[in-house]
């Protein structure tokens, strides 16, 4: 059935159906506009689905035409488009306009300033405020001239008293209006600046959150915190004060310049003499000040990084009694930052003083020449007075440009750093294929996988293994052999250099990142708990969980006793990074979180030294529960305690980037290789029949 008019009313998250006939639909997808890469990706994504015959995605018209086999079961073009649009932030989309010739600051402002309408009010208030301020000046000069018996011709009919009263009233009214408008315009600019900073921070956070792990290794947490807090603050300052200042200075220069020319053209010309020197000084001092502000910015990031490292590792700082050393490092860095700041502001002050000196010279010259002109009766005393009112106004505006340039340079340096992050594309991009919830079987295959954290040093060379659905695979090996890295590769924290990893027969790079990561329930060795309650930590990343499911997950993780021992039970606060809990308690909360994910449909349980902080008895109990909870699921276990993995369906032994042994526990013991010697070492029994912890 043709469904044009009805369809066009549907508009969700930037998609809209324009035309539909059986087997043919045309949709408007706003995210396509001007983005050929997105169009290409959309085409690829849609064609992955059975029943879709042909796709034409047009980035110029931002529309997509889809031909499909009508009545294909499960095929819903709208939901496919919706999913694609929702996933866009996961695989990168530019958050600021393309570079071109624009400076980083102008790109950031274009992307973060609110729409033009929001700019109207502060701009208008600034213009009105400055006009009122200048009118106040005019009325003041008129008042003085009137007192001397001259003054505006239209008041000549009045006597001196009423004339002065009239002009005083006007001056007072203008002063009141100036004060009120000044308050309003400051408030308007502040609001605009806050909105800009908020938008910019959101964009930065969005970009940072979607980056891959390599990005965080490269940039450092302290640096990123500094970027989101302090650097955006400088942009806010520039918008708040810069916008208003630009208008104020422009109007002051223009109006006082015009008044000067009207009052005495030759004096105005004389006043222009310092201008070339001002321009030259800006050229000379500008880049130097900018360079110094860049250093301030760099040391500020470094300071944040050191401070963050210090506070995160405060326990180690204390245990190694390195408090004084850390305080010294921080103090040195802070001192360096202060020195750079003093240098930078010194350069700005020098420019300011230099500019002021030039203008003072110009002022003296103009005053002297003006005096001569009055003496020769080439200008009147009133004109001379007007020049002397307007010349300092012009001077003030021109010297004030220095403050503006300082703001600009500081903001420009921050913008450069912000743009670097906003422009950085994650190397790990989400694939087009989404897995239906609960549909994954949990089959994992590594095929000739090679990988290294740096291109020169390979951690793995052509590693291959196969985990069938429902099997338990254990990975053992010496420290640094890359056991945890295998899990990181599976969930695409990093991508393989060569070879491929398959999940249920599909390359993980083809899979949607959220889908892929929802299939794997991971418990890491270095457990991270978020500031909040035990409940919030167990429920992390899961919606609509019943109380029964929550309690069951806690019980299976051996964490039931926490409910009684912690004051407040599930609602007990865990502290920053779970600091109020013991290592074992943190690990059990993390296991409960993973079990909940498993209960909600994850197909693979990945345990990376997940029970290392538990005592033998608790570990045995938890292992037993895990086996029950993970029945029918695939399990990947990494463990140093070999007793905890001996029941695995398969054990692979890693050494120097290769799988050197592969088989069941008994087979590996019989082989008398690395596994057997590790087993003997741990169980203190050369026969290989050492004491073991029985799990069941």
């Amino acid at each position: 059935m043709v469904n044009r008019r009805k369809a066009s009313s549907t508009d969700t998250a930037g998609i809209r159906l324009l035309s539909a006939t059986p087997g043919r639909e045309r949709w408007e997808v706003k995210s396509l506009r001007g983005r050929p890469d997105v169009a290409q990706e959309l085409k690829k994504t849609l064609l992955q689905h059975g029943g879709v015959l042909h796709v034409h995605a047009n980035p110029v018209s931002s529309r997509v035409l889809v031909f499909y086999i009508p009545h294909t079961p499960g095929l819903n073009i709208q939901s496919l488009l919706q999913d694609f649009v929702n996933d866009l932030p996961l695989w990168y989309s530019p958050l600021i306009p393309a570079a071109g010739n624009a400076s980083p600051l102008s790109r950031i402002l274009k992307a973060s300033l609110p729409e033009r309408r929001a700019l109207t009010s502060p701009t208008l208030l600034s213009v009105i405020g400055n006009i009122i301020r200048l009118l106040k000046g005019v009325s003041f000069v008129s008042l003085v001239n009137t007192a001397r018996g001259e003054g505006p011709p239209f008041l000549q009919a009045l006597k001196i008293g009423p004339r002065l009263l009239f002009l005083s009233t006007i001056s007072l009214a203008l002063t009141a209006a100036d004060t009120w408008i000044h308050y309003l315009r400051r408030r308007a600019w502040r609001r605009l600046a806050q909105t800009t900073q908020h938008t910019l921070r959101n964009k930065l956070i969005e970009r940072i959150e979607t980056q891959d792990m390599a990005f965080f290794d490269e940039h450092g947490t302290g640096n990123l915190i500094n970027l989101v807090t302090r650097e955006t603050e400088r942009i806010r300052e520039f918008v708040e004060r810069g916008g208003d200042d630009i208008i104020e200075k422009s109007i002051s220069i223009l109006v006082s310049g015009v008044f000067l020319v009207i009052a005495a053209p030759s004096l105005a010309l004389l006043a222009c003499i310092p201008l070339p020197f001002i321009l030259l000084s800006t050229r000379f001092f500008g880049p130097r000040a900018s360079e110094r502000y860049a250093r301030v910015s760099e040391t500020s990031s470094l300071f944040s990084q050191i401070l963050e490292n210090n506070l995160v590792g405060i326990a180690d700082v204390k245990s190694f009694t390195a408090e004084k050393e850390e305080a010294r490092r921080l103090s040195e860095c802070d001192l360096r930052q202060s020195e750079f700041y003093l240098e930078a502001s010194g350069m700005s002050s020098l420019q300011s003083q230099f500019t002021g000196g030039i203008f003072s010279t110009g002022y003296v010259l103009t005053a002297a020449y003006g005096g001569v002109m009055v003496a020769q009766e080439r200008i009147t005393l009133s004109e001379y007075m007007r020049v002397f009112y307007w010349f300092p106004t012009l001077l003030g505006a021109l010297t004030g440009i220095e403050g503006l340039t300082r703001l600009y340079h500081s903001a420009a340096q921050s913008a450069k750093k912000i743009v670097e992050v906003l422009d950085s594309e994650p190397k790990i991009r989400s694939g087009p294929v989404r897995l239906a919830a609960g549909s994954a079987r949990g089959e994992v295959q590594f095929e000739d996988v090679s990988f290294g954290y740096s291109p020169d040093v390979k951690l793995f060379r052509n590693i291959s293994f196969h985990l069938r659905p429902g099997e338990t695979l254990a990975i053992v090996g010496p420290t640094g052999s890359g056991k945890s890295t295998l899990l990181r590769l599976l969930i695409r924290f990093f991508d393989v250099d060569s070879g491929r990893i398959l999940l249920d027969g599909r390359d993980v790079r083809e899979l949607n990142l959220q889908s892929l990561r929802s299939v794997v329930s991971l418990v890491r060795q270095d457990v991270h708990l978020f500031q909040g309650t035990v409940r919030e930590n167990v429920l992390y990343g899961q919606d609509n969980v019943s109380e029964d499911e929550l309690i069951r997950a806690m019980r299976d993780a051996g964490a039931s006793d926490l409910l009684d021992s912690l004051p407040g039970g599930l609602n007990a606060m865990v502290g920053e990074r779970g600091g109020r809990l013991s290592g074992g308690e943190r690990q059990r909360v993390a296991i409960a979180r993973a079990l909940l994910k498993l209960l909600r449909g994850a197909a693979i349980l990945a345990l990376d030294e997940a029970t290392s902080s538990l005592d033998n008895e608790t570990e045995a109990a938890v292992k037993r529960s895990l086996r029950e909870a993970a029945a029918g699921k695939s399990v990947i276990m990494i463990a140093h305690r070999l007793t905890s993995i001996r029941h695995a369906d398969r054990i692979i032994v890693l050494e120097k980037g290769n799988i050197i042994e592969d088989g069941k526990h008994e087979e590996l013991l019989a082989r008398k290789g690395l596994y057997a010697s590790l087993w003997n070492l741990q169980n203190d029994d050369p026969s290989g029949n050492g004491v073991e912890i029985r799990l069941s």
């Binding site: 035309s19 006939t21 047009n58 110029v60 018209s61 105005a268």
Partner: protein, 69 residues
């Protein structure tokens, strides 16, 4: 008056000599944007006509089937 005009003339010359490049660039930018908008609108118009034709064709074939019945 003549002096003032001369000063204004010289200043205008200085300002224009410094800004002609910016002004020309802005003009070209406006042109590019107008061209893009035209391209977008024309493609949308073509696609609208394609849609209308596809819908009309579908309606005709539906009616045709009805007549045969």
């Amino acid at each position: 008056m003549k002096k003032t005009l001369f000063v204004v003339g010289v200043l205008s010359g200085v300002v224009l000599s410094r800004t002609w490049k910016v002004l020309t660039k802005e003009g070209i930018k406006v042109g590019i944007k107008a061209g893009r908008k035209f391209r977008e609108l024309s493609q949308q118009a073509i696609e609208d006509i394609e849609d209308i034709a596809a819908e009309a064709s579908e309606e005709v074939s539906q009616k045709g089937e009805g007549a045969r019945w």
